[in-house]
Symmetry: C2
Subunit: 360 residues, 2 copies
């Protein structure tokens, strides 16, 4: 199997940063996921990153991730062992060995958590994911578009409780896993969506981890060279700058395990006197400037700290922060009717339709 | 194996009535459970009732039951097939055949649901249960006192979803199963507490189904002979009559999947001018007459319709009904320190201690 590269503990810095950018405000705190993955790699050795095309059609590929509201996750550091236990339990259920690990989403935590399992098991990690970004619910993956069942799913907590789900739809998996996660204290580790190599080649968003790495490296190197990290990021992602502003108002509530709300930014510099509103549910969903919609889910909206060039999550938004909002296109799989049904604005109880990013 | 008796479809009438009496206000609507069991027996044949002493020490005995708030259950008739699927799934998990079915509680639904599985599988049903009455939470069984784990547990709904739980304690099983049950619409079927014949001989409350049958028959025959069914019941159960009265006030709320509340009765006949209050959580928990506690959980408090002699559940209490409240002693296993910890008044957030039934 041709290996793209071996990922060592130090490489996780860039990947976690890039994951937090693609996490579009959600996907968990990059610090926690990075620490867990680094510890696992230091203990077990580097992780082999492979292209999904390298996987045999009959290979068994399984995503691993953390579920929960980011606001809860930052208070509760998960242990890698539980995830490994869940992985082994899924192997027993399926009656065969797993051949490769996969990410389900890009995000601070879920771009790095799969490295923990890959390092501990010695399995390769597929360079891709099920979103190309982060989304709040677990049926919101390109795997669902391709008919992959989320179950059998193994979900476990830090206390030693585990549950195996078998459901009639991925939406039911989300409901039951969410209820269990809330009861378990707000965060749980899970393995799900077992799929063959043949299916993965169709259903996986390609190159996500390489892109995370490139984003993180671009930000780091540009800052080291005293350049403009946001400009470099915009170029790399073919992004549109939506706004420069300061956080004026944040309305935030934790509802049914989700961090829901809206952030309002007041313009600075050439945006002075103007206003940007972004609605979020864990992730930034819709950006509206002075009443005009500029970008909607499933396209990506990221918010970057104007000083540090680092991505900002919805739960770390603070009054007065000076931020730059950007938007860039999602994976084309999301723009199919099935994709828009799963993750378009109307799913999030917004009555607006998807519209492509408004370019100046 | 010596069989106590074969239970046919017609025998279910008395057992369901008796179960509703021992259900102490909870345990579900006797009508639903009876219908399901009768249909299963008509299709598959009678069920062999056996004493637990007849089971070999290495036999595998598994309880089956329904979980949910009675107020929800009456609107949602479960199918027997799901329970059978859950039973088969547990057998696969344990890697062996189940030898006998067991009730976890006495109650309108849970005294009769196990007949559905026993009839469909052709397995004997043990004449006993895990409470000798009904209780609202699933760790509240004599099995817990004897160190039996509630997991592996298989829980399923009427839509085809299922989950397998493995937990670190029976209290955690309750929390996670309750969350799933609520998400599934308020009612779920489950098999749990797999135990050996040797353990069952220590942990099972003996003769519960025979007692249910005797209670139902006594009420039916006394009424047919124009006798006093309540007097006959009091004699059979060595019960104390607490009150004759009418429902004056009912405070009822569904909280976290439970039907919680308090009923106040105004006295009639020799109790005129006096008042009885009964607190409940699915089941009647504490009876207090004119400020004096007469009976507390885990002793049994049943409320009987003065006209029909039939037991009344907490969710069928209606303003103006003329009722008789009685109390009678629980199985001695509940009066151990471990038993009182599990089901004594303080567990139900009442600050009073257990006290034996006040006899006139």
């Amino acid at each position: 199997m041709k290996i793209i590269r071996h990922v060592g503990a130090d490489d996780l810095e860039d990947i976690a940063t890039g994951g937090a950018v693609l996490g579009t405000g959600g996907g968990g705190d990059p610090y926690i996921g990075k620490l867990m993955a680094q510890e696992a790699i230091r203990r077990h050795g580097p992780v082999a990153l492979v292209d999904v095309e390298e996987m045999p059609d009959d290979a068994l590929i399984v995503p691993a991730c953390m579920m929960g509201a980011p606001t809860v996750m930052t208070e509760k550091l998960p242990q890698g062992e539980e995830l490994l236990t869940a992985f082994r339990q899924l192997e027993r259920l399926l009656g065969r060995k797993i051949d490769a690990v996969l990410c389900c989403e890009a995000g601070g935590v879920n771009s790095t958590i799969p490295f923990v399992v890959a390092a501990a098991t010695g399995l390769p990690l597929v360079d891709g994911d099920g979103m190309g970004r982060a989304f709040p619910e677990l049926q919101m993956v390109t795997f669902t578009i391709h008919g992959v069942s989320a179950t059998p799913m193994v979900l476990c907590d830090d206390k030693g409780n585990s549950l195996v789900l078998d459901t009639v739809s991925n939406a039911w998996t989300e409901r039951l896993a969410r209820a269990a996660t809330i009861e378990m204290g707000g965060a749980a580790l899970l393995t799900f969506y077992p799929m063959s190599g043949a299916v993965a080649k169709k259903a996986v968003v390609r190159g996500t981890l390489s892109l995370c790495d490139r984003i993180g490296r671009t930000l780091r190197e540009t800052k080291a060279a005293h350049g403009d990290p946001v400009k470099a990021l915009v170029r790399l992602l073919d992004a549109q700058i939506l706004f420069h502003g300061r956080v004026q108002d944040i309305e935030r509530r934790t509802e049914g395990g989700f961090a829901r709300g809206r952030a309002v930014f007041g313009g600075v510099d050439e945006w002075k006197g103007r206003e940007l509103r972004i609605d979020f549910q864990n992730e930034f969903l819709i950006a509206e400037r002075d009443g005009e919609v500029l970008a909607t889910t499933p396209d990506l909206i990221s918010v970057i700290d104007a000083d540090s060039g680092m991505p900002v999550t919805t739960d770390s938004l603070r009054y007065g922060q000076r931020l730059i909002a950007i938007a860039y296109p999602c994976d084309p799989m999301w723009l199919t009717p099935a994709g828009i049904d799963l993750v378009g604005p109307r799913y999030f109880r917004d009555d607006r339709d998807y519209q492509p990013i408004r370019r100046d």
